[in-house]
C-alpha cells in the first residue's frame, strides 16, 4: 500500500511575522521557512507505518513555489521514498490544493493520505477534509493514534471534551494532531540520501486543475494591541485589584 503525505512550506513557527506597511499581507521576505509542524508529524507517521511493514511506499507531495523542493527533501530525509512538487507561483488556497492532491490520488492510488490538520500560516484547517470529500473517501481528522489493520484503520481523534475513536475503510484521509507522534531528527546521512531520491515536478495544468483563488484578501492589519498592564507586588494587591478595579471576582 502506498501512502501520500502532503507537506506545506510555511513561515517557521518561531518567527513572529510582521504586517506589511501597505497592509497587503505579512512580510515573509528573508524569513526562515520550514515544513508545517503538523505535516512533519504526518510524514513521521507515514514512515513509521512503512517501518512496521504496513506500507510499501511513502510519497511526499508539496504544492507551491520552486523552493518547496527543500520541504520535500526534508520529508525524504525523514524517510519518504520520493517526492512530487506541483509547482506554481499562484496563491494556493485549500480548495485548489485539495484538487491538486485529488488529481495525484487518482494517479498514484494510495491507500492512505496523511496531512497536517492545519497549516500554521493561514490557520485554515480545510485541505484534508476537502480532499476526502472530492475523492469520496472517509476521513479521520485530528488524529492522536492510528492503527491500520487490513482494509480498515482505527483512528483516535482529539475532539472537544476528550477523545473519540472511529473506524474508517481504506482508502482514507487522515489529518494529524500534535500528540500523534514526535517526529525524529533528520540525520546528515539521511539528508545526503534524500538528495538522491526521485523528485517529479508537475504544473497545475499538467494535472488539469484550475487553481485560481476563490477568496480575495482585501487587507491585512495588526491585531488590536492589549494595553500594557501593571505588575503587582503581592497576592493581597492582586486580589484587591481583581475585586475592586477589574471587578471580575
Amino acid at each position: 500500500m502506498k501512502v501520500l503525505v502532503a507537506v506545506k512550506r510555511v513561515v517557521d513557527y518561531n518567527v513572529k511575522v510582521r504586517v506589511k506597511s501597505d497592509n497587503s499581507g505579512v512580510d515573509i521576505a528573508n524569513v526562515k521557512m520550514s515544513m508545517n509542524p503538523f505535516d512533519e508529524i504526518a510524514v513521521e507517521e507515514a514512515v513509521r507505518l512503512k517501518e512496521k511493514g504496513v506500507v510499501t511506499e511513502v510519497i511526499a507531495v508539496s504544492c507551491g513555489v520552486a523552493q518547496c523542493q527543500e520541504t520535500l527533501r526534508t520529508a525524504m530525509a525523514i524517510g519518504a521514498d520520493r517526492g512530487i512538487l506541483v509547482e506554481t507561483t499562484e496563491e494556493l488556497q485549500p480548495l485548489a490544493v485539495a484538487k491538486l492532491l485529488k488529481a495525484l490520488v487518482d494517479k498514484e492510488q494510495p491507500g492512505l493520505v496523511i496531512l497536517g490538520k492545519q497549516a500554521i500560516d493561514d490557520d485554515c484547517n480545510q485541505t484534508g477534509q476537502m480532499l476526502a470529500a472530492l475523492a469520496d473517501m472517509p476521513q479521520a481528522t485530528f488524529a492522536s493514534k492510528v492503527e491500520v489493520a487490513g482494509d480498515k484503520a482505527s483512528v483516535t481523534r482529539e475532539v472537544d471534551g476528550g477523545l473519540e475513536t472511529i473506524s474508517i475503510s481504506l482508502p482514507a484521509v487522515i489529518t494529524t494532531d500534535l500528540r500523534l507522534n514526535e517526529p525524529r531528527y533528520v540525520t546528515l546521512p539521511n539528508i545526503m540520501k534524500a538528495k538522491k531520491k526521485q523528485l517529479d515536478v508537475f504544473k497545475p495544468e499538467d494535472l488539469g486543475v484550475d487553481v485560481s483563488p476563490r477568496i480575495k484578501t482585501l487587507k491585512v492589519v495588526e491585531p488590536a494591541k492589549r494595553s500594557a498592564g501593571i505588575k503587582v507586588p503581592d497576592v493581597a494587591t492582586l486580589v484587591d485589584k481583581l475585586k475592586n478595579v477589574a471587578k471580575v471576582i
Partner: protein
C-alpha cells in the same frame, strides 16, 4: 438570502457555540435557519427553536447521525444546501471536521474562523496565530464559514419561537463507523464557555503538582482548568485542556496563567480574555506583555496564597 447554522448539540441540548454562530449569521443580515442533525434529538431541536433570531429549525433524525460522523453530517447539510447563501458552522472540533467537506462538494472556498462580519461577502479572520487579521472577500455563490465563537456574543437561548420542520436523515456512507468516546468527566464549566479559566504551564513540573496546585484555585473561583501546550505535551494535563493556536481559543472574563511563559502560540488562544493575570517567577516571561496584572512570584507559593486570600 438565507443563512443556515449547523447546530452543535448532544441530542438533548444545544451547545453554547451554536448561540455565537447564530449571532454571526444574524450579522450577515439574512434569515437564520438552524439544522439539528442527530438521533433522538427532538429536545435539541426544540431548544434550537427557542434561540432568539432563528426563523426555522430543520430537524434531521436518524441513527446515521448519532455520532456526528463527518461523511453523514456533510451529506445531510448538502441535501438542503441549495436553499442557502451562507452555511455557518461553529469553529469547534465537530464544525471544523464537517465544514470543508461541504465546501468542497459545493466547489466553493471556505472562510475559516471568522471573527467579524463586514458585509455578506466580506469577513475578518485571524491568520498566523492571530498575529495578523485578514479581511477577506469571497466570490463564491455560497459562503461556507466557520465561526470563531469568541468573536461573537451568544444569541439569547430563549425568546424565539421558530417552526421545527423535519427532514429525512440521509443514508449511511458505509465508509466510517463510530467505535467509542472517552469523555473527560468534570463538574467544571467547559473550557470554551467558562467565565474564569485558570491555566497551568510547564513550571508545574508534574501531573500531581498540576492537580495539587491548580485544582484548589479552580474550585475557589468556579473556574475551568486550561493548560499550555508544554504542560500537555509533558503529560501534566489532558489534551483537550490545551489553550492556544491549535488547541482551544478562549476569551473568558478572567484568565489566570500560572507558570506559563507565553509563547505566541499560547497567546493566540487567550489574548482576547477580558482580564489576564500572570503568575510567573521569570520577570522576562512574554506572558507579562499581555497581562493586566502580573505577579512575579514562585507559583508554588503564590497560588496557595491566592487560594487562601480569595
Amino acid at each position: 438570502m438565507t443563512s443556515l447554522v449547523i447546530a452543535e448539540h448532544d441530542n438533548a441540548s444545544i451547545k453554547g457555540a451554536t448561540l455565537n454562530t447564530v449571532t454571526a449569521a444574524a450579522a450577515i443580515g439574512a434569515d437564520v435557519h438552524v439544522l439539528v442533525a442527530g438521533h433522538n434529538a427532538g429536545a435539541a431541536a426544540a431548544a434550537a427553536a427557542q434561540i432568539a433570531g432563528v426563523s426555522k429549525v430543520i430537524h434531521a433524525d436518524g441513527a446515521t447521525l448519532e455520532a456526528g460522523l463527518a461523511e453523514n453530517v456533510a451529506a445531510q447539510v448538502l441535501a438542503i444546501a441549495g436553499n442557502y447563501t451562507h452555511i455557518l458552522f461553529p469553529a469547534t472540533a465537530a464544525g471544523k471536521n464537517v465544514a470543508p467537506r461541504v465546501a468542497a462538494k459545493l466547489d466553493v472556498g471556505q472562510i475559516s474562523d471568522i471573527t467579524k462580519v463586514d458585509s455578506p461577502d466580506t469577513f475578518e479572520r485571524p491568520i498566523y496565530a492571530g498575529n495578523a487579521i485578514a479581511t477577506v472577500q469571497s466570490s463564491d455563490a455560497v459562503k461556507v464559514i466557520t465561526v470563531r465563537t469568541t468573536g461573537f456574543d451568544p444569541a439569547a437561548a430563549t425568546g424565539g419561537s421558530a417552526a421545527v420542520e423535519t427532514a429525512a436523515a440521509t443514508s449511511d456512507s458505509g465508509k466510517s463507523s463510530f467505535v467509542g468516546r472517552e469523555v473527560t468527566k468534570s463538574d467544571r464549566p467547559e473550557l470554551t464557555a467558562a467565565k474564569i479559566i485558570v491555566s497551568g504551564g510547564r513550571a508545574l513540573g508534574s501531573s500531581e503538582k498540576f492537580d495539587e496546585v491548580m485544582t484548589p484555585l479552580a474550585d475557589k473561583l468556579g473556574a475551568a482548568i486550561g493548560a499550555s501546550r508544554a504542560a500537555v505535551d509533558a503529560g501534566y494535563a489532558a489534551n483537550d485542556l490545551q489553550v492556544g493556536q491549535t488547541g482551544k481559543i478562549v476569551a473568558p472574563q478572567l484568565y489566570v496563567a500560572c507558570g506559563i511563559s507565553g509563547a505566541i502560540q499560547h497567546l493566540a488562544g487567550m489574548k482576547d480574555s477580558k482580564v489576564i493575570v500572570a503568575i510567573n517567577k521569570d520577570p522576562e516571561a512574554p506572558i507579562f506583555s499581555v497581562a493586566d496584572f502580573g505577579l512575579e512570584a514562585d507559583l508554588f507559593v503564590a497560588v496557595p496564597e491566592l487560594v487562601a486570600a480569595l
